[in-house]
Amino acid sequence: MVKFEYFEPNSLEEACALLKEHGEDARLIAGGTALIIMMRQRLLNPRVVISLADIPDFDFIRFDAKDGLRIGAGARHRDIELAPVVQEHYPLLYETFRKVAQPRIRNMGTIGGNLVQGDPLTDPGASLIALDAKITLRNAGGHRVIPVENFFVDYYQTDLQPGEILTEIHVPPSLPGLAWAHIKFLPRSQEDFATVGVALTMRLNGDRCQDIRLAFNSVAPIIMRAKRAEEILRRQKVDDDRVGKMAEVASTEVDPMDDNRGSAEYKRELVRVLVRRAVKQALERSATGKQGAKQASAPA
C-alpha cells in the first residue's frame, strides 16, 4: 500500500471542505471493505484518505409512514438488515441485506460505500431500484437528489461527481400489498456474489399488474432496471404467456459477460428462468398475504 495522509472530519461540512481542498488526490473511506482491497492491490493510490466514521448521525435509519424510509449513507448492511422498521415495512430490503456476503462484511460495509463503489455484482442496488429509492449527494456548495437507477453509469462508475458525498438513501412509503421477490442465484457458495440477482416489485389489482419494477445485478456492467421487460406486464393481466414473454425480453435486455460464475449465455438463460420464478414467488406472497420478512424465501 502506498503511504497516505489520513483525516477524520467531525462534520459533513468539514468532510466536503477536505474533499474540495484535496480534489483528485483524496478518497473517502467508510467501512473500507472495498477501498482497502483496491489500495492493497495498488489499483487505487490516494494521497489523502478521509474517513466518514466520525460524522455524527451518519448511520441513521428512520421510518415515517408518510415519508418512508431514510437511511444514512454510513449505515452498515447489518444495521439495515436488523432494523425492525426495515423488517416490518420493507421485507424486500431485509431479504436483500441478509444475503449480502456474510456477517463479517455486513458488519463493516456501509450502504453508501456499496452504492458508490458501483460494483455491478453487489445486491442492494437492484432492490433499491425496484423500490424506486432516491439518494442525496452533497458537496461543499449544496446537494442534489437523484433516483438510484440513474446513479449507475458504467462498470465501477457512478454519477458521483468530484467533491460529492452520498449522504442519504430515501425509500418511498411502503405500499400495502406490494408483491415482491428477491432471488440471489448462488450456485458456488452462499457467501459468493450473485451469479444473477433479481429484484422485483409489482402492484397488483386482482390478476392485473398495475405497476412493476424489475432490476438486476451481476448481468450487465451496471446494476440495471429492465424497463422493456416491465412494459410487457405493466397494466396487463398476469398469465404464464406474458410472464414468459417478459422473461424472454429481460434476457435480451441484460448485457452479461463471461466470468468465473458462468458464460454470458448461461446468465441470459438464468435470467429467463429466474424472472419467471420471481414473478411466481411474488404472486404467491401476495395471494397468501404473507409479505412479512419471516416468510422471505431462501435463495433460489
Binding site: 500500500m1 502506498v2 503511504k3 492491490q41 495498488r42 456474510q102 442465484f185 450456485p187 458456488r188 457458495s189 452462499q190 457467501e191 459468493d192 456474489f193 466470468d259 468465473n260 458462468g262 458464460s263 448461461y266 438463460e269 438464468l270 428462468v273 429466474l274 433460489a300
Partner: protein, 759 residues
C-alpha cells in the same frame, strides 16, 4: 482384535493439546515471529510464461531509502533443486518458465518500501513461445521448457500386469470414457511464510510454517549449496497445509538468500496473490482415459488407464502424484489384469503439486465413474458392485501392495445404512439421485529413498511429566494430540502429563513430516516405541523401589504398583526423581523409531508401497435443478476404515474437512488460466465451500484394527476427499442421467449436458 474400550486415553474425545493457545491467540504463527532488526522481503515475479532474461538492473531499486538488499540469481549458487527432479532455482537462472516465477527479491525496512523497490527493478526479457496444454506440449516441435526434457516429458509410466488383451476379451461388458480433473488450490487460511536468520558462522535459522521440516531442510540446503546441518528449520504454528506447505516452493530459500546478503533476519510472507501464483502448488490436473472390463456379476476383469498429467513449469511432487494416480486404485478392489500408461508433462504454467489425496482424487474421479457406469449398464446396485470387488485382508494388488487390515465392506454397509440407500433407491424420485464411491489410501509411502520411518524421543521430567521430542510437526491436523494420547496410553500416565515439543531440526531427530497420511501411523509408532522404552526404565527403577519384579508391575494413571497391591504405589514422578537424584543417576529418556514394513517399488513399480492401507466408502444424495443446472447436495455420508480411532474429535474433523474440500473440488473450485495467467487467483473469483455450504453430513468409522499400527491405528487425513468428486458425479447421473466429465461440475455444464441429452 483389540477394541478402543480397552484403552484409557486412546479412543477418548480429548481436547487439542495446542487448542488453548490457538483459541486465545497465543499460538505463534510465522507472521508473529519478530526478531530484532528484522527486514521484510518481497519477490519480483515473472510477468511472462516463457522468456529469456537478458538483463536485470537493480540499481534504481537499491537506491530507495529503506531498501537493504536486492537479490537475483547472481546472489545464489545457481544450483537447481526439487523433490524428485532438480529442475527449479530459488531465483530464475537464464529464463523464466511461468507467470509468477521468482526473478528477484528485495529486503527493506517495511513491506511497502520493499514493494515500491520491486517496481524499480528493470528486467529485460526476450519472450519465448510458450505451451499451456499438456497434450500439445508432448508433440514434436512444441516449445521446449527444460532443455534436458525432450517432448517436455518429465516422466513416463508404462506398466502392465497380467494379460490385458485377454482380460478384455473375457469381459462381458467394457466401459470406456475420458475425464478431466483440475488444478485445485489448498486455500489454507494461512499463506506460506518464513523468517530466516543468517549467522556469520554460516548457519541459517529459518522459522517456517512447513509440514515437512526435515525435507524442507534438505531442499533448502540443496538450493543454498550448504550442508543440512547448516540449516535449522523451526516449525511455527501452522494454519493448515493440505500438502501445500511441503516445501516445493521458494519462499524460504528467498528469505535465506536475503538474510545472508543483509546479515539481518528477513521475513517473507506470501500475500494471497503470491500464494496463488507461486506458493502452495495446486493439485496436478490430469486427463484420464479409462477402459474397464466387467463380468456379468459386476466383477472387475480388466482395467486400463491412460493419464496425461500437467506438471506445470517445475516438477515438485508431481512425479509421485502421477504414480499414485496410475496405480493406487488397484489396491481398492480385487484387480487381476491392469495396464496403465501415464505421462507427466511440463507446461508454462504454475507448477502443480501435492494436495490432500495426492493423485487419488484425480484417478478416482475417472475410475469410480467407470465402475458406476458399469453398475448402471449391468443393472447392478452401485453399492453391490463395490461390495463384490472390495479388497479384503490378505489381498495383494497386482503391483504388490499387501493389505493387512481392511474393512471396506463394512464401510459400504455403514454407508448404505446411514444413507437409507436401499429405501431411497426403491422410492426413487425425479431429479434426485444417489451416488457412491470407494477409495484406498496409504498410511505413509516409501518414496523419498528407501525409508518410510519416523523417530521420537521421550523424556520423563522429575515431576513425572513426559515430554515428546518429535520432528513430524503439527500442521493443524491434530497429530500432536494423537501422539500425546499414544504416549500417555503406553506410559500409563494421564493425558495432562504429556507434552510435545515444537518440531525443530536441531532438537528433534529425523522425521519425514506430514504427508501421505503417515504421521499417526508412522510417527505414532515411533512415539509408542519411545514410550515402551521409557516405560522399561520406569519399571526397572520402580522394581528397585517396590522390591518387586518389573514384570509384576503396572503403571496406571501415573502410579506404579504391584498388580493387586495398588495401595503401595509410587508415582512416576517419585520414580523419575529417585532415578535422577542419586550417585550415578540419570534421567529417564528413550528414543524410539519405526520404519514401515514396506519396500521401495522397483523400476516396474512393483512392491508394497506402504505399511498399511486405509479405506473408505462415501455416498451422496443430490437434487438437480433442471432449469438452472444447479446441484444441491441433500445428504452426504462417509464411512472410513482408519483402524483404531485415536481421537474421535480429530478424526471427525479430518473427514468433515476432507469432504468440504472434496465438494469444492467436485462442484466449484479449480484454477482457471488463460495463456498461463491465472484468471481467478483471489477469493472473490476462486470460491471454496464455506460452513454455510456444507450439506447434512454423517460419518462413521469402521470397527477395525491394524496390527502394525500404534494401538491399531492407520492413516485417515486424505481418505475423505479421494472419492468425493466421483460420488457427486455418480449421484448426478442417478438423478438426471447425465455425466459432466470435466471438473468442476458447474451448473452451466450440467445444463448443457441436459440439453445434449434431450437432442
Amino acid at each position: 482384535m483389540a477394541k478402543a474400550q480397552e484403552f484409557s486415553v486412546v479412543g477418548q474425545r480429548v481436547v487439542r493439546v495446542e487448542g488453548y493457545d490457538k483459541v486465545t491467540g497465543e499460538a505463534r504463527y510465522v507472521a508473529d515471529v519478530r526478531l530484532p532488526g528484522m527486514l521484510f522481503g518481497k519477490i519480483l515475479r515473472s510477468p511472462f510464461p516463457h522468456a529469456r532474461i537478458l538483463n536485470i538492473d537493480t540499481s534504481k531499486a537499491e537506491k530507495v531509502r529503506g531498501v537493504k538488499a536486492v537479490v537475483t540469481a547472481e546472489d545464489t549458487v545457481k544450483r537447481p533443486w526439487g523433490a524428485f527432479f532438480a529442475d527449479q532455482y530459488p531465483l530464475s537462472v537464464g529464463k523464466v518458465r511461468y507467470i509468477g516465477e521468482e526473478v528477484a527479491a528485495v529486503a527493506a525496512i517495511d513491506p511497502d518500501t520493499a514493494e515500491e523497490a520491486l517496481d524499480l527493478i528493470e528486467v529485460e526479457y526476450e519472450e519465448l513461445p510458450a505451451v499451456f496444454d499438456a497434450e500439445q506440449a508432448m508433440q514434436e516441435g512444441a516449445p521446449l521448457i527444460h532443455d534436458n526434457k525432450p517432448r517436455n516429458t518429465a516422466m513416463t509410466i508404462d506398466v502392465e500386469r497380467g494379460d490385458i488383451q485377454k482380460a478384455f476379451t473375457e469381459s462381458d461388458l467394457t466401459v470406456e470414457d475420458t475425464f478431466e480433473s483440475i488444478p485445485q488450490w489448498h486455500c489454507a487460511i494461512e499463506t506460506i511464510g518464513s523468517v530466516a536468520e543468517y549467522a556469520p558462522s554460516g548457519k541459517y535459522t529459518i522459522y517456517m510454517n512447513t509440514q515437512t521440516l526435515f525435507m524442507a531442510r534438505y531442499r533448502i540446503a540443496a538450493a543454498l549449496g550448504v550442508r543440512e546441518t547448516d540449516v535449522r528449520v523451526i516449525q511455527s504454528a501452522v494454519g493448515g497445509g493440505f500438502g501445500g506447505k511441503s516445501c516445493d516452493d521458494n519462499n524460504a530459500m528467498v528469505a535465506a538468500i536475503l538474510a545472508r546478503k543483509t546479515g539481518k533476519p528477513v521475513k517473507t510472507i506470501n500475500s494471497r496473490e503470491d500464494e496463488f501464483l507461486a506458493g502452495s502448488r495446486p493439485r496436478v490436473n490430469m486427463k484420464i482415459s479409462v477402459k474397464m472390463g466387467f463380468k456379468k456379476d459386476g466383477k472387475i476383469r480388466a482395467k486400463q488407464l491412460r493419464i496425461i498429467a500437467d506438471n506445470g513449469a517445475y516438477s515438485g511432487k508431481a512425479p509421485a502424484i502421477t504414480g499414485v494416480a496410475a496405480l493406487r486404485h488397484d489396491t481398492c478392489y480385487k484387480y487381476s489384469d491392469v495396464k496403465t500408461q501415464a505421462y507427466l508433462v511440463y507446461t508454462n504454467k504454475i507448477p502443480t503439486g501435492a494436495f490432500r489425496g495426492f493423485g487419488n482424487p484425480s484417478a478416482e474421479w475417472a475410475v469410480e465413474q467407470a465402475i458406476d457406469q458399469a453398475a448402471h449398464e449391468l443393472g447392478i446396485d452401485p453399492a453391490e458392485i463395490a461390495r463384490v470387488n472390495a479388497a479384503e485382508p490378505g489381498y495383494v494388488s497386482p503391483h504388490g501392495n499387501r493389505v493387512t487390515s481392511c474393512e471396506l465392506r463394512q464401510c459400504i454397509d455403514r454407508v448404505e445404512k446411514m444413507m437409507e440407500w436401499k429405501k431411497k433407491r426403491a422410492e426413487k424420485k425425479p431429479r434426485i439421485g444417489l451416488g457412491l464411491a470407494c477409495t484406498v489410501h496409504v498410511s505413509g509411502k516409501r518414496h523419498f529413498g528407501d525409508y518410510d520411518g519416523g523417530s521420537a524421543t521421550i523424556k520423563i521430567n522429575e515431576d513425572g511429566k513426559a515430554l515428546i521430542l518429535c520432528g513430524e510437526g503439527e500442521v493443524g491436523q491434530g497429530a500432536a494430540t494423537a501422539m500425546c494420547q499414544i504416549a500417555a496410553e503406553e506410559l500409563g500416565i494421564p493425558m495432562e502429563d504429556v507434552e510435545i515439543s515444537q518440531a525443530d531440526t536441531d532438537l528433534t531427530t529425523f522425521c519425514l513430516g506430514a504427508f501421505g497420511s503417515r504421521v499417526t501411523y508412522v510417527g505414532g509408532n515411533a512415539v509408542k516405541d519411545a514410550a515402551t522404552k521409557a516405560k522399561q526404565q520406569i519399571l526397572a527403577m520402580a522394581s528397585e523401589m517396590l522390591e518387586a519384579r518389573a514384570d509384576d508391575l503396572v503403571i496406571e494413571h501415573g502410579k506404579v504398583y504391584v498388580r493387586g497391591a495398588e495401595a503401595k504405589a509410587v508415582t512416576v514422578a517419585d520414580v523419575a526423581r529417585a532415578r535422577l537424584f542419586r550417585r550415578g543417576g540419570s534421567p529417564i529418556v528413550a528414543s524410539g523409531s519405526f520404519d514401515a514394513d514396506s519396500v521401495l517399488p522397483d523400476e516396474t513399480r512393483y512392491g508394497n508401497e506402504s505399511g498399511a492401507y486405509n479405506f473408505a466408502c462415501q455416498a451422496a444424495e443430490v437434487g438437480v435443478d433442471t432449469e438452472t443446472g444447479q446441484v444441491k447436495v441433500l445428504k452426504y455420508v462417509a464411512a472410513s476404515d482408519c483402524g483404531t480411532v485415536i481421537n474421535p474429535i480429530g478424526a471427525e474433523g479430518q473427514v468433515e474437512g476432507s469432504v468440504a474440500q472434496g465438494l469444492g473440488y467436485a462442484l466449484i473450485e479449480g484454477l482457471r488460466m488463460e495463456e498461463g495467467r491465472p484468471i481467478n487467483p483471489n477469493f472473490s473469483d476462486y470460491r471454496v465451500p464455506s460452513m454455510r455450504d456444507m450439506p447434512d453430513l454423517a460419518h462413521a468409522f469402521a470397527r477395525s484394527y491394524e496390527p502394525t499400527g500404534p494401538f491399531g491405528a492407520k492413516g485417515l487425513g486424505e481418505l475423505g476427499m479421494d472419492p468425493t468428486a466421483a460420488v457427486i458425479s455418480n449421484a448426478i447421473f442417478d438423478a438426471v442421467g447425465v455425466r459432466v466429465k470435466t471438473l468442476p461440475i458447474t451448473p452451466e455444464k450440467v445444463l448443457q449436458a441436459l440439453k445434449e441429452k434431450v437432442k
